[in-house]
Symmetry: C2
Subunit: 201 residues, 2 copies
DNA sequence: TCCATAAGGTTAGTGACTAACATGTTAGTC
DNA sequence: GACTAACATGTTAGTCACTAACCTTATGGA
């Protein structure tokens, strides 16, 4: 209770704390016993709340493990790149840069989370839904950054290919984290796009 | 009961007939009332079976609407292309060719099914899972077709980009079927890949 | 003091999906 | 022609994700 506190500020903090506790307990249990073998009831109990509170914070059991917290950020990063830069390069820089930070700060957590997702069908499905949503955000950001809406199909295909490349790099990394490091893999994945789709081919 | 009938042949036929009935009734109800508003119990009743029979034929409610019947075929089509052909061209030809047939025979059904899938979150997620599975099949087929396992990341990225391009074309088509026809869109999507990822930028 | 608000709890559902067990029908065997 | 194994299907009784309606509690302001 120092001084500068908004009206209902501590409420928000408490709510965020509850949310964080739920998420931590959920991830812990998922890693310990597997996603399917963990019930929402257990997660709620471990977090000291009722199962309704769980669902007030997360719409589904999948969302707590594979929710997408970074999505709006990616859109901004892409939009804030120099206008003259080619689309592929914008995405590559935005994505690579954003991920490098998470990677440096939290490599082990990122790895554990992705392995969990990749080995759980329900979470994999959810991850793709996220990727598609990211794609929509990026396409929207790029459309706004350019003048009029240029070529919908073109933009969607390019962004889709880039995100697929990035997702592939992450997948390959998670499957063999002892091998090449993630940033390097992302570089390589984008290099493949450039090399493979040349007319001289 | 003519003559040439395998031992347990008519069993298989009856089973296939039941499966087909369930699927037809399911799709009909999904299109009439929406996916979420249709219960498995209703589908089973409409098909004249119990809900257990439904689950013996389809593992989940999603599978009956967004199951992937063509997956093994794609693998074979890709593998049977001339070895010298670039990977992108193999996939483009295999995919384009296979889809053109379905398209010519069943355009309306294809459209209805895709619209249903695209407007239902649960089915969209399932569709992505399918695409990933197709990707695995194609990568496997190509790895086998080549000699040793060349570059895993390279192949995964290329195949992923191609399938994403095809999926984007289908999506754009389903969202606006009055516009450009699907085969044309697929051509364009692949053209975008070629044009956009050239080193010259 | 009293009331509005917002986080959380309780309870009673619905519906997808599973496991265990029962039934009828057909294919081969004696 | 009865006998049995195999198999598609049915019945029943669950578990668990998720929802809706309603109640409780605690804070912050009037």
């Amino acid at each position: 209770m120092t001084a500068a506190e908004g009206p209902a500020d501590w409420r928000a903090r408490k709510k965020a704390a509850t949310r964080k506790t739920i998420q931590e307990q959920a991830i812990r249990l998922f890693l310990e016993k597997g996603f399917d073998a963990t019930t929402v009831e257990e997660i709620a109990a471990a977090a000291g709340v009722s199962h309704m509170t769980f669902f007030r914070h997360f719409r589904t059991k999948e969302e707590v493990a594979a929710g997408d917290d970074y999505d709006p950020m990616i859109g901004e990063l892409v939009a804030s790149r120099p206008a003259a830069e080619p689309v592929v390069e914008k995405i590559r820089q935005a994505f690579g840069g954003g991920l490098a930070q998470v990677y440096a700060a939290d490599r082990e957590a990122l790895l554990a989370r992705y392995r969990l997702i990749l080995e759980t069908p329900a979470l994999r499905a959810r991850l793709w839904e996220n990727q598609n949503q990211t794609q929509r955000h990026v396409v929207e950001a790029l459309t706004k950054a350019a003048g009029g809406p240029p070529d919908d199909l073109r933009l969607e295909v390019v962004v889709g290919a880039c995100l697929t490349a990035a997702a592939t790099a992450i997948r390959v990394w998670a499957e063999n984290p002892e091998g090449t490091e993630l940033p390097e893999l992302i570089d390589r994945a984008f290099a493949v796009l450039r090399e493979e789709f040349t007319p001289g081919g």
